[in-house]
């Protein structure tokens, strides 16, 4: 019986003896594995990007929007109100007694407005809201302060600028303490938002925030004074999102005096749903790319089988001699399987090296992030070894079955 070490040694000797052929064998697997690592990395990278973008909108977020998601139902409204959501709804939702799983509520009105300061003009979304908005959206103030409850109560003409608005209106200056003109009213700038980059859909640095009451009276004219465009809710935790959803739904149905839930005149969308929609796209892409990489691995595996078969034919005399000297069919099988396994393993390791190298270069060329994951790398090496082994079975069993006399007659 030949020990594992002996088998390994014999296999390494054989691989080293036929160096260029071994290299060619390895090449197929190497390319396949590198392709898998890059595609999986690209997929995970873009998924991470989407996740980060969505969660930058705020964590454990639920968005209440006016209008039914389930068809037309009864047309509500009347009295010229554009929205079925009001400040009173927001106040009701903020009740810790009735909605214990909702930790923060921020009603929002939003409109694009022209604005100016000094000689500079700009146009950006103006958001009217309340103090909890900052926490719900996970934003930060880099200079000055955010709006206060007092600002909301007395509808003060104060504004907080996003970095891009600030750069347009006050290039190279600190905007805090200055005055801007929005839609004919002048606002004093009391704060500057820290940059948050772009989310999936909006540029979060190109906006101006004002107290919701100020916005309602000065900016979104024509609308009913108390209607809001959206109400942002923050659930206490990840686990209480669905409880928060239930509470908000019940409260709003009651406030709007709707008895059949299907006739609701509002829609509550949990953030996770946004995430799911956004990631499903990149998941499909990843799946497709991984499929292509898997096919290339399969081709690599067939390459291993091919070259191993050539190797068996070429080494018929060696196999015959080893058998004559006492190698059992199993010992021969094991030797060739070990060879195939080592070739696969070598291809896997070299492929990982190539894949890591490429994933360092690709982001520089295409600005697509590549996320290297340790499980994917380990998985790739294991798969490569497995492919070597699987596609080595046929050549190895052919070698093992060779009759010693036929093999010895080889030359």
């Amino acid at each position: 019986m030949m020990s594992l070490r002996e088998t390994l040694r014999a296999s390494i000797e054989a691989i080293a003896t036929h160096r260029s052929r071994s290299l060619l064998t390895v090449l197929g697997i190497l390319i396949g594995i590198a392709a898998v690592i890059i595609t999986v990395g690209l997929g995970e990278g873009s998924q991470a990007k989407v996740t980060a973008a969505v969660s930058s909108l705020g964590s454990n977020l639920l968005v209440v929007s006016p209008g039914s998601s389930t068809g037309t139902g009864g047309v509500r409204g009347g009295l010229g109100s554009a929205s079925t959501l009001t400040l009173a709804d927001a106040t009701a939702l903020a009740s810790h007694l009735d909605a214990p799983d909702i930790s923060a509520v921020a009603p929002v009105v939003q409109k694009n407005e022209a604005m100016s300061a000094g000689g500079n003009t700009w146009s950006a979304p103006v958001i009217g809201t309340t103090p909890p908005y900052l926490g719900i959206r996970s934003r930060q103030i880099s200079f000055g302060s955010f709006i206060t409850s007092a600002d909301v109560t007395s509808a003060n003409e104060v504004a907080i600028l996003g970095t891009e608005v600030s750069a347009e209106l006050f290039p190279g200056q600190n905007p805090v303490g200055q005055t801007i003109n929005i839609n004919g009213s002048s606002f004093s700038v009391i704060g500057l938002l820290a940059s948050a980059g772009s989310s999936a859909t909006t540029n979060q640095d190109d906006q101006v925030i004002v107290p919701i009451t100020t916005a309602q009276s000065l900016l979104v004219g024509g609308r009913s004074g108390t209607s809001v465009d959206q109400i942002l809710l923050q659930a206490k935790s990840q686990n209480s999102i669905s409880a928060a959803y239930q509470e908000a739904n019940a409260l709003l149905l009651q406030a709007h005096q709707i008895t059949t839930p299907s006739a609701a005149d509002f829609t509550i969308t949990p953030e996770t749903q946004l995430l799911t929609t956004a990631t499903s796209v990149s998941k499909t892409l990843t799946f497709l790319l991984t499929g292509i990489a898997a096919v290339s691995l399969l081709v690599g595996g067939i390459g291993v089988m091919n070259i191993m078969l050539v190797s068996v034919t070429e080494r018929i005399a060696e196999i015959g001699l080893r058998k004559a000297l006492g190698a059992t069919p199993r010992a021969i099988l094991r030797q060739f399987l070990t060879e195939a396994l080592l070739l696969g393993l070598a291809g896997g390791i070299l492929g990982v090296v190539l894949g890591i190298g490429a994933s360092l270069i690709v982001p520089k060329l295409t600005s697509n992030p590549v996320a290297l994951s340790v499980p994917a790398i380990i998985g790739a090496v294991v798969v490569a070894a497995g492919i070597g082994l699987t596609f080595g079975v046929y050549p190895a069993s052919r070698a093992a079955r060779l009759a010693p006399i036929d093999a010895l007659r080889g030359d």
């Binding site: 003896t17 005399a317 058998k323 006492g326 059992t328 009759a403 010693p404 010895l408």
Partner: protein, 276 residues
């Protein structure tokens, strides 16, 4: 096991077990129309310590016999006992272990592995015997020393002459201390000087008490043995010491022990396949 002198009979008249005991051996290649009967009812007994040569013209079934004696192939019918053990119907794995333990092969084409050094080639049978690397090395070097090649142990086959390569192969055959050394045309690829040297080694092993079976078609080679068996068309046609087998010319035999293989005629399926 006594290796000092050739033993054909036990000291007190009790027979020792013969190393090779073959009776009514038949080997047919292929089936139906294409069947070739290479060995047709052959009997042969080789005692421990004998130096036997099997001599026959080309195509007489020498290699076929060697393959069966060496457990590289199994007979179609008949019985073969190696060192007292019936090996006619063993499977591949068992045959491999028998070869490893009992047989030392020397081939016409040397059959050394090109990518291994001389000493690694000699070690091969010990690898399959499961010996540890240190013991293997020690025994391989000792075997190479016995054929006078200890100074070439790290050379590869391509760096050695034909005669030296065959000596490495002989060392490989010796290294397991086999019951039989089996050589098929060992001088077939060598010049006359190397041939003589190689045959000299076999004579030496014989004197040291080993059993050697030498297969050849050349009378000059066959006669170095102490017993010559002549084969023709798959049967034994002469058996005796070289002095008797090679009376007169070297090519026609006039052996006293000439046998006519009477079984051949009595067996209905006998030579019929060949005479059809």
């Amino acid at each position: 096991m006594s290796q000092d002198s050739p033993v054909e009979q036990g000291r007190d008249g009790r027979r020792t077990v013969p190393v090779i005991e073959i009776s009514e051996l038949r080997k047919t290649y292929g089936t139906g129309e294409a069947a070739v009967e290479a060995i047709r009812g052959l009997d042969l007994v080789v005692e421990e310590g004998e130096f036997l040569s099997v001599m026959a013209p080309s195509g007489s079934g020498k290699s076929t016999l060697m393959h069966i004696i060496g457990c590289l192939d199994t007979p179609t019918s008949g019985r073969y006992r190696l060192a007292g053990r019936d090996v006619s119907n063993l499977d591949e794995a068992e045959l491999a272990r028998i070869r490893n333990r009992y047989i030392g092969f020397v081939f016409q084409q040397f059959h050394l592995l090109r990518h291994l050094t001389a000493v690694s080639n000699v070690e091969l049978p010990l690898v399959y015997a499961g010996l540890n690397p240190t013991d293997r090395r020690v025994r391989a070097i000792e075997a190479l020393r016995r054929v006078g090649l200890a100074d070439r142990m790290h050379h590869r086959p391509t760096q050695l002459s034909g005669g030296q390569q065959q000596r490495v192969a002989i060392a490989r055959a010796l290294v397991t201390d086999p019951t039989v050394i089996l050589a098929d045309e060992p001088t077939g690829n060598l010049d006359s000087a190397s041939s003589e040297e190689v045959l000299g080694w076999f004579g030496e092993f014989h004197r040291a008490g080993r059993t050697v079976v030498l297969i050849t078609h050349e009378p000059d080679v066959a006669k170095v043995a102490s017993r010559v068996v002549r084969m023709r068309d798959g049967v034994v046609v002469g058996d005796g010491p070289p002095e008797l087998i090679f009376v007169g010319t070297g090519t026609t035999f006039a052996g006293a022990t000439l046998t006519e293989q009477p079984q051949d005629g009595s067996e209905p399926s006998g030579g019929s396949a060949g005479h059809r």
